[in-house]
Amino acid sequence: MAYGNAAFAALSDPTRRMVLERLAAGPRAVGEIAEGVPVSRPAVSQHLKVLKDAGLVSDRQEGARRIYTIDPKGLGAVRAWLDQFWDVALDAFKAEVERVANDEKGDAP
């Protein structure tokens, strides 16, 4: 089981981890992130998109620049995962409770 496979998949790439570590030091624009990473700026943009889709970073427009920040908790994906996780678990719980209750009714004279 995994908290959001997208998050883990996003983090499986070493360059993306590097990008995330750059952002962990503070909010950055793409150009600033690219300075610390040995890949082209368009490649950094692509990595940022994957991280954003996975809920690990968010962005905002500041004038002409787009500023990226790490999701401070990295938890957007975790929460979404848990939400779905408990739906599945509680459905299974309900089915089991009602199965037991029905069996008992069936046993009654």
Binding site: R17, L20, A24, V88
Partner: protein, 158 residues
């Protein structure tokens, strides 16, 4: 708190066609009968999931290979109305005895059945470790270490 994101608790409400006594009993003593086998951490399939009765009881999974995965423990035990469990699995997917997120389940008689109010709260605490790691960014326990753990998990999953 300078950084804005606080995940809201996960809340669910459902109604089950059974008494609160039955619902409580199935949720706790019958935990292994309904907990989805896919909901396990660890490499081996889940064989059995257990909530031990009473405050301090352990909440764990027993894997096919014999490994025991501790998830947390019972914080409040008020049959048949309420149970509160500690979920101590962090965002890095490992058990952390210092992490406390709470799963509260309340059972209330409603008509012929029982309303079940479920809440998994304090999810932001999963991020506290990440947050303090952020302060010590350069340390092994910092983001670098955390990200390595994520990566290891990702490798396992793929």
């Amino acid at each position: 708190m300078s950084l804005g994101i606080r995940p809201a608790p996960v809340k669910k409400t459902l109604t089950v066609a059974a008494t609160p006594e039955r619902a409580f009993e199935v949720f706790t003593a019958g935990f292994g009968r309904w907990w989805p086998a896919s909901h396990s951490i660890g490499e081996s399939p889940l064989k059995l999931a257990v909530i031990e009765p009473g405050v301090g009881g352990r909440w764990y999974g027993l894997l096919e290979d014999g490994t025991e995965n501790l998830w947390g423990d019972v914080l409040d035990w008020e049959p048949p109305h309420r149970v509160v469990l500690a979920w101590r699995i962090g965002a890095d997917w490992t058990f952390d005895p210092d992490l406390l997120t709470e799963v509260e389940v309340r059972f209330t008689a409603e008509g012929q059945g029982t309303r079940v109010d479920f809440e998994h709260r304090h999810l932001e605490r999963m991020g506290d470790a990440a947050e303090s790691a952020r302060a010590s960014f350069d340390s092994e326990g910092g983001w670098s270490g955390l990200l390595r753990m994520f990566a290891a998990e990702a490798a396992k999953a793929s």
